[in-house]
Symmetry: C2
Subunit: 337 residues, 2 copies
DNA sequence: GTGAAAGCGCTAACAT
DNA sequence: ATGTTAGCGCTTTCAC
């Protein structure tokens, strides 16, 4: 069932069918109707590959999301989709697994869909310029940037919070409440992750408060998921290390940590204060409500699109926007008793 | 940067480049190396549209996921991906918004990628045969089926729990514990949703236990999300209706309901037992741990792929598999006091 | 307003 | 082992 078959069946040429299908004005109403109804009856679906192959440009913007079903992303995705649409472009989203290569994916999409630009949601922090070679359209990194890589700043855009500062701020909240022995829940990774950045903020906050970091208070989870966070917290608790507060590098792990604390007989915040960074919707529905520094998802999505379109349409060069996390006060932290 | 450019630069023909790129054996090692290194340096990325346009078949299987970042799906997606790979096929996933049309998406993918088959993860329960016209490859509905539609059974496959029976079972647990005034938290939808199916199971369980359903005990949430579930539960509580237990059609809404109960001074399960259906990982990390009937995600993913490949490879016709939910005993239900 | 024909980038015969 | 060539299904000039 190709456009040719349609043309033959309607007794018109392929170009006429193409015109009808693409809502071109130069077709007589009669023919248009005839073709349209024939198409409806025949279950004809245009072949997108052929379509994008032939066109030299598009108004498509690619969105590459790293990490299937990361709840943190869903709001950002919605915002990005809405904004791209509103600007008259079309969003083409591709989700990839944590181990896949977002650059390769973006490069393929770029060729396939003739993209105008790309937004990466989540990704590695250490690109090299060579790796980025295959990407020739403007792109913005949303929720991550190139802290550990060697990309020239003017070659890409980014929208992020300052992860180290956010962690500092979170830990400072605990210090302000009188806590001195503050544990930290991180994800075991190579040194080039968001977990590391936030961990450094934790260390800095402690030192600024005149507290010597204590390695025994650092719980290292295998991954970023709740099961790992739970296990790491349990290990920390069972180690006998003493602490009155805990900073988790993510909401998800904080939730697991709170569970672990209760399972070991420690209440929150009575027996231990807990604070985190992220701001998942979910964190508002646990008890106690999690106190967390929220990444401003709507703003991040909106700004990512805005910057990308500015670059695409030549209104500006690449930019690196730093957005402010917002402290959502829950009930998981309290003054040290 | 097309294959032609590559060919010219290397001084070979396009077919040679194509052979190298597709790992064909009939190329001399010398030429292969030359082409390969040239390709690496040039950031050349093959155009997938051109590729799939020319090939008449593929080993691609499409996965259309309805609902961006539904946490329930992430495990199933991983399983499906793994199984498809293991069978020597390639998974092509497309996520669509709740309001988009999974059939159109599947049909487009089918043409574009020359799919061998499709798996729909989440979707409408009321397809008509006409709507399915554009889909010409075998497909299986995973986690939903066509209860409210008119599809001939032999025209498609499905893998689901029996939602009404699952709800019955969940509510029966409550009845067994002595509860008589059992509230129900549903999603306000048209009549053709999973929420309705589970609601019917709730009604049946009550009647079977000789309990007359009481409309005042039904909390209707606007959507399936936690915010709506919370609001609906609050309304129910504020209405003054009396109940000692609550059945929620989903884990997410149950979590919100538990929060609402506590916010209104009711403890769980002391002041109200709560049971649900789904089995999100998340539900194990709240307090009290949610008691819920888990959909067997791994099994559902595995079986969906198995059935699809059986049909594709002609080993069997379409099948409709019913899988058993597994009761995960948490701490959210208790005998009526 | 409509049709004929070129060609998008690639693969797969078919030659050599 | 390598090159030549004919399309895949579609859009888009360019004629008429």
């Amino acid at each position: 069932m190709t456009i040719k078959d349609r043309a033959r069946l309607c007794g018109v040429s392929v170009s006429t069918v193409s015109r009808v299908l693409n809502d071109r004005p130069d077709v007589s109403p009669a023919v248009r109707e005839a073709v349209l109804s024939a198409v409806r009856e025949s279950n004809y679906v245009p072949n997108n590959s052929a379509r994008s192959l032939v066109k030299t440009s598009s108004d498509d913007v690619g969105l590459v999301v790293r990490g299937v079903s990361n709840p943190f992303y869903s709001d950002i995705i919605k915002t990005i989709g809405r904004e791209i649409d509103a600007a008259g472009y079309t969003m083409v989203m591709q989700q990839i697994g944590a181990s896949e290569d977002e650059i390769a994916c973006g490069a393929i999409m770029e060729r396939e869909k003739k993209l105008r630009g790309l937004i990466f949601l989540g990704g590695r922090w250490d690109y090299s310029p060579e790796e980025l070679g295959p990407i020739t359209v403007p792109f913005v990194c949303c929720s991550f940037t190139n802290s550990f890589g060697s990309l020239p700043r003017e070659s890409y855009s980014s929208v992020t919070i300052e992860d180290d500062l956010a962690a500092e701020r979170a830990v400072s909240e605990l210090v302000r409440l009188g806590h001195r022995r503050i544990a930290c829940l991180v994800a075991e990774t190579d040194d080039r992750s968001i977990s590391e950045l936030r961990y450094h903020g934790y260390l800095k906050a402690l030192r600024d408060a005149g507290i010597e970091p204590d390695g025994r208070l650092v719980a290292r989870a295998g991954g970023f998921n709740m099961a790992d966070g739970y296990a790491a917290t349990v290990r920390l608790l069972d180690s006998g290390a003493e602490f009155t507060a805990l900073f988790s590098i993510s909401d998800a792990m904080a939730i697991a940590a709170i569970k672990a604390l209760y399972d070991r007989g420690r209440s929150v915040p009575g027996g231990c204060s807990v604070i985190a960074i992220d701001g998942l919707a979910f964190s508002e529905y646990i008890r106690p409500t999690l106190t967390t520094l929220c990444q401003p998802m709507a703003e991040m999505g909106e700004e990512s699109v805005k910057i990308l379109l500015d670059v695409i349409e030549g209104r500006s060069g690449n930019r690196h926007l730093i957005v402010e996390p917002v402290l959502r006060r829950g009930a998981s932290i309290a003054p040290r008793v």
